[in-house]
Symmetry: D2
Subunit: 346 residues, 4 copies
C-alpha cells in the first residue's frame, strides 16, 4: 500500500500535537519527523504525555528536515515565523501546508495593515492556495503551498458562502459574532489564559481590528468575485478548551423565505463530508474532536434578517483536521481518509 | 432606626434565595416571611444549605402572608403564576415587586403573542411600572406594582438607551447577541441543564422568538417615545453559573465618532451608582455577585457600526439586586443601601 | 474479512452512545441493532445529534433482537433491569456483556446487602466472568456472560492488584479516595446534576456505603485469593464531564522501597496495551476519550505509606471501551482492535 | 466611632485583592495604603478592574508605609519575601499579620527542610502566633506578629483538632486527601495554570513533600501537646477558581460510635461563628466567598475508620478572611465584624 511521507514543523503547540494525533492514525501516511525548537532531543510524548504509548518518536530540529525525503511538510509555527521559513523554501523538495496566518491574505499590503509588519516572503503570497476545501478544492489539488485558514474564518466563511454565492444577502452589511474556546490562543501560558481569570468568565476582545476580519472578507471575495464584502467581526473568549460557535446576521438582497435560505445552504453542501446541516442550532460539543462544521440557517421575517449559527472544533476543522483534509486532496486521496472521527460528546 | 417589613414569595428558586441573601444584610429591612409551596415547614437553610447560620427561618405558605403587616412583597414566582397571584391582590395591603415576566409587556395582546397564553390580570398591566431604575426611577418611586425587568433586557436596554435617547442610532436596525450563564434557566433541573451536556459546551437557542425581544423593544419605546424599535435578539447558553454578556450592533443615524459615542454614554450614566463605563470590553466575572452593569461602547469607522458590550450578574442586576434597588427607591432610601457589594473575582 | 454481528441494548444513555462510537469504527464488527425503550423508531442520531452522518440507524425495541443473528449483545441498562433481561436469557443465542452492576458481585446475598433488593437471576451470578481483562483474561475468553466492571472499581483495582498480588501491602488497611466526572451519574437529568449546582463545585458523597466498595473487595479477592480485602472507599463528584482519578493509601506488609513498588507495578503491566505507567502523577485529561488507565505509584518513607494515583475515562476504560476490550478477547481478536484511540487533550 | 488604620503590602495578587474586598466593607477599619512593587502609581482598580467604583486609591511603594501611622499591616507577599521584610521590622511601629508561609513552622531547621532555604528572620519565629483563631485565640490576641495559616492546613486542622484533642484518634496514622481550586496557586500565570490544560482536568501533585505537611503537624502539636502527629498529605488541583475540600481518614484510639464522633466535633465548635457542622458532606460552593469552614464527620464501623470532610474558600477562611478574623481579635473587636458574608451559591 503506497504511503506518503510527511513532517510536522512545530510539534510543541496544540496545533502540532493535533496534527500528530490525526497523522499517526492515518492509513496512508508515514509521519517521518516532528521538529521543535525548544524541545528537540526529547520524545514527543515527554512534551505531550497523553501520547505515551502512541507517539514516542524523538523531536528533531528544523535542519533535520533535509535528512528525509518528504512529500509534504506541515508548518505549525507562529505567525511571522512561517514566512521566514518559506522565504528560503524550495518548492521542488516538498509541498507545504502552512497553518499560520502568513499566507492567508491576498497582498503584502493587507498583511502589513492587519499584522503590523512587513511580509518577508512576498513572492509566495500569490502562489498560496487558500485551504478551505469546500470552496477552493480545485486550487488546493495542485498547489505547492497551501495557506490553511484561520479557525474563526472557517466557521464564518462556511456559513456565509452559500448565501453570498447565491446572491441572497447584501455583501456590505454582514455582522459576525464569534465565540471561541481558549485553545485558540495557543499552548503558551499568559496572563490572559490564567485559569482562575478565565474560568466562569466570558468577554469580548479584539473589537474592530481582529486579523481574521480581512481573511474572511478576502476569502469570500476570492470565491464569489466582485467587490470585497464588508464584515464586522467580534470575537469572544469562551471558558472552554475547544470549540467555536459563530453567529452571523445578514440582510436579504431580495425577497427570501425560511425555506429558500435553508434549501440553498443544504443544496450547497449536499456532497460534502464535513459540513452537516443542523436542523436545530448546533452545539460546539457535537463537533468536539471531529472535523465537522455544523451549519444552521434561519430567516426572521419580522426583522428581515438571515441568521446563521455554525460550529467547529477550532483545533480540528479550524486547524489540523482541515490541514489533513487539504493534504488528502493534494495527494489525490479520498478527502475523508483518516478523518472519520466521531465527535466526543459528552 | 425605622425599618421596613418585607416578604419573599417563592423562596425555593435562585431568585428567591438571592433576594434573601441581599435582604438579610440590608440595614433598613426586616425580612418577615419567606414562602415556598413545595418546602413550607422546612427551615430556609434546609433548601439552601449555604445559608446555614445566616437564614434559618421556617418557610411558610402563601396564605401566611396575611399574618404579617408588610410594606412590600417580592414575587419570585414562575411566569403565569405571578399574574394569578396579582389577579386577587389588594394594593392597599402592601406594594409588590414582581420578578416574573407577567407585567413587563405593555399589553395583554403582546403577552398572548409572545407568552402563548391569555393574561389573567389585565387590569394591572397598565398599573405596573417597568422596574429599570436608571430609566424609570420616577415611575417606580410611587408605583404599587413594579415589574422587575428580565435579565437579558437589563443588559441590552442599559447599553442601547443612551444611544437611542440621543438619537445616534437607527431604531429599526438593532442586533443583540446575548450570552447567559445557566442560572438564568432557574433552579429546576431539566435535560437542557444536565451538567455533562452543558459543561464545555455552548449553543444558541430561542432564535427569532425569545420573549425578551418585545420586552426590550417596549421598554425602549416607553423611555424614548416614538415608534417601537425593532431588534433582533439571539440568546446563547454559556457554560458558567452566573453572568450575562450582551453585544449589540447598531448603525449611526448621523455622522458619529468614537469620542462622541463614548462621551454620550458616559454622560448618560454619570450619576448612576450601578452602571460603570468600561474602558476595555468588560468581563462577566468583574460583576459577579454585584449589582453592577458594566457598559463599553465603541465605533467602527470602517463598517460604520456602533458596538456595545455590557455585562451583569443575571441573578443580581438582572433580578434580585435590581429588585432591591427598586425597593430602595419605593421606600425613599438611598438607592444603593444594602447593595454596595464588591464583585467576587476571581 | 470475517466480521461479528453485535447489538446494543439501551442506546439512549451515555454508555450506549459510547459503545456505538467505538463499534462503528471497529474493523471487525457489524453493529446490527441498537434498542431504546423510550426512543424506538427514531434515528439514533436524533437522540445523539453528534452522530449525524455517522450513525443514523433507527432505534428498535428489545423484542427486535430476535430478528437478528447476533454473536454478542451489550447490555447498557440500569442496575436491576439487566438482571430481569438475563433471567430469561438463552445462552445459546448470543453471548452477553452486561455493563450494569447486576452480575459484578459474587453472591445474591451481597447484592441484596449493597443494592438493597433481591437478585432476580441468581443462577447466572456464578456464570458471569468479571470483565477486567488485565486480571481475568482467561475467564473472559470463554465466558457466555461477562459483567463489565464499574468505573471506580476499574481505576482502583488496577492500581492495587499488583501490590496485593505481590504481597506488598496489608489487605485490611486500604483507603481509596476517588473523584469522578458527572457522566458517571448517567444521562438522565436530576437535581444532583443540575449545571449551576455542580459547576465550580466539588463534594463527597456515598460515604461508607457506595456499591462499588464490595465490587472492589470481591474482585481483588477473586484475583488474589485468601481473605476479602477490606477497603474504605469515598467517591467525590468532580465538576467535569469525563474522567476518574483515584488516590489510594496503603501500608506495606514488609520493608519496601520506592524502587521496589515502582518496579513491581511496572513489571505487572509490562505487556498490557491499556495500562500505562506514569512517571509523574497522571492527569485525567491525558486519558480523555481513550481506553487507557494511567497508574502512578510512590512510597513515602516518612509515613511508611504507599500511594497510588490512577486515571481513566469513566465512559471508556470505565465502561464502553473495556466492554469492547472484553469483546475482542471473547472473539479471539487482538485485544486493542478498534481501541487505539489517542486521548483528546486538551 | 473609633477606627483602626491598616495597610496591605502586596496588593497585586489574589490574597491582597481579597483583603481589600473585606477591608473596604469593614465598619471599623480605614484602609490607608496598599502597596505593589510592580504597579505602584496606578489606581488599585486598574490592576483589579472589578473594584472600579469601589477601591480606586493609588498603589504605593513599600517605603511609603512609613508615611502612615498604622495600627496593623497585612503582608500579602510571596514566601521568602515576607521574612526579608520582617527581618528589619520594628514591632513598635505596627502589628503584622503575615499571609505567607514564612512564620508558620516552629523552627528554622524545619523551614530549611521543607522550604529548601535558610530562614532570614529567625528571631521572629518564636514571636509569631499561629493565626488559627479557633485554636489559638489567646495567643493571637496579644501577638505582634501573626502567621496566618495556609489554606490546606486550615481545612485539615479544623477537621482533625477536635478528634485529637479528645484523644479519639491515633496521631500517627492520619491520611489527608485535599483538593483545591486554582486560585491557591496565586495570580501569576504559569504553564501549570494555563486554562486549556486545567479545564476539564484533575490531578494530584506535591506527593510526599508538600510544605503544608509540617504546618499541619506542628499546628496540631502546638495545640494538643505531646508528640508531633504524623500525617500523610496529598493535594490535588481542582478545575475551579475557589474552594478547598479536604477528606481525612483516621483510626480510633478507642471504641467510638457515630454519635460520639459527631457530638465531639459539634461540641468543640459550639460557640464558633465560622465553623459550621454539616449534617451531609459539604460542598465547596456552600462556602464560596465567605469565611465559613464546614465540617462533616462520620464513623465507618465496617472498617473502623473516622472520616471527615471539610470545606473552605481558600482565599477567605484560607487566607484573607482568616487574616481579618485575626485582626478583629487583635483589636478586641467582635470576631465576625465585617465578616458576615453569605456564601455566593450558585
Amino acid at each position: 500500500m503506497a504511503t506518503y511521507k510527511v513532517g510536522v514543523v512545530g510539534g510543541t503547540g496544540y496545533t502540532g500535537a493535533e496534527l500528530v494525533r490525526l497523522l499517526i492514525n492515518h492509513p496512508k501516511i508515514d509521519l517521518e519527523i516532528i521538529t521543535s525548537r525548544s524541545h528537540a532531543g526529547k520524545p514527543f510524548s515527554d512534551v505531550h504525555p497523553h501520547f505515551t504509548g502512541m507517539a514516542e518518536m524523538e523531536l528533531q530540529t528544523i535542519d533535520d528536515l533535509d535528512d528525509y525525503d518528504l512529500d509534504l511538510v506541515f508548518l505549525a509555527l507562529p505567525h511571522g515565523v512561517s514566512m521566514d521559513f518559506i522565504k528560503s523554501y524550495d518548492p521542488d523538495k516538498y509541498r507545504v501546508i502552512d497553518l499560520s496566518g502568513d499566507f492567508r491574505l491576498t497582498s503584502a499590503e493587507s498583511y502589513r495593515q492587519w499584522y503590523g509588519k512587513e511580509h518577508t516572503a512576498v513572492n509566495f503570497i500569490d502562489e498560496a492556495a487558500f485551504g478551505l476545501p469546500e470552496l477552493f478544492r480545485d486550487n488546493i489539488r495542485n498547489a505547492t503551498l497551501v495557506a490553511n485558514p484561520g479557525c474563526y474564518p472557517t466557521s464564518a466563511i462556511l456559513a456565509l458562502a452559500p448565501l453570498l454565492k447565491n446572491d441572497l444577502i447584501k455583501p456590505d452589511d454582514i455582522t459576525i459574532d464569534s465565540k471561541s474556546g481558549v485553545t485558540g490562543a495557543g499552548a503558551t501560558a499568559s496572563a490572559k489564559t490564567h485559569f482562575p481569570d478565565v474560568f466562569g468568565n466570558f468577554s469580548a476582545y479584539g473589537l474592530r481590528n481582529h486579523r481574521h476580519t480581512p481573511e474572511i472578507q478576502q476569502a469570500l471575495q476570492r470565491y464569489i468575485g466582485g467587490e470585497e464584502p464588508r464584515v464586522i467581526f467580534t470575537p469572544h473568549l469562551l471558558p472552554i478548551d475547544r470549540g467555536i460557535l459563530t453567529t452571523t446576521y445578514t440582510k436579504p438582497k431580495k425577497t427570501v423565505s425560511q425555506e429558500l435560505v435553508q434549501k440553498t445552504v443544504a443544496r450547497f453542501y449536499k456532497k460534502e463530508h464535513f459540513v452537516r446541516i443542523a436542523k436545530n442550532p448546533p452545539q460546539v460539543k457535537y463537533v468536539r474532536g471531529s472535523n465537522y462544521c455544523d451549519v444552521h440557517v434561519t430567516y426572521d421575517e419580522r426583522t428581515n434578517t438571515i441568521i446563521t449559527v455554525s460550529t467547529i472544533d477550532n483545533l480540528v476543522k479550524g486547524a489540523a483536521g482541515q490541514a489533513i483534509q487539504n493534504m488528502n486532496i493534494m495527494f489525490g486521496l479520498l478527502e475523508h481518509t483518516g478523518l472519520k472521527i466521531t465527535p466526543l460528546s459528552p
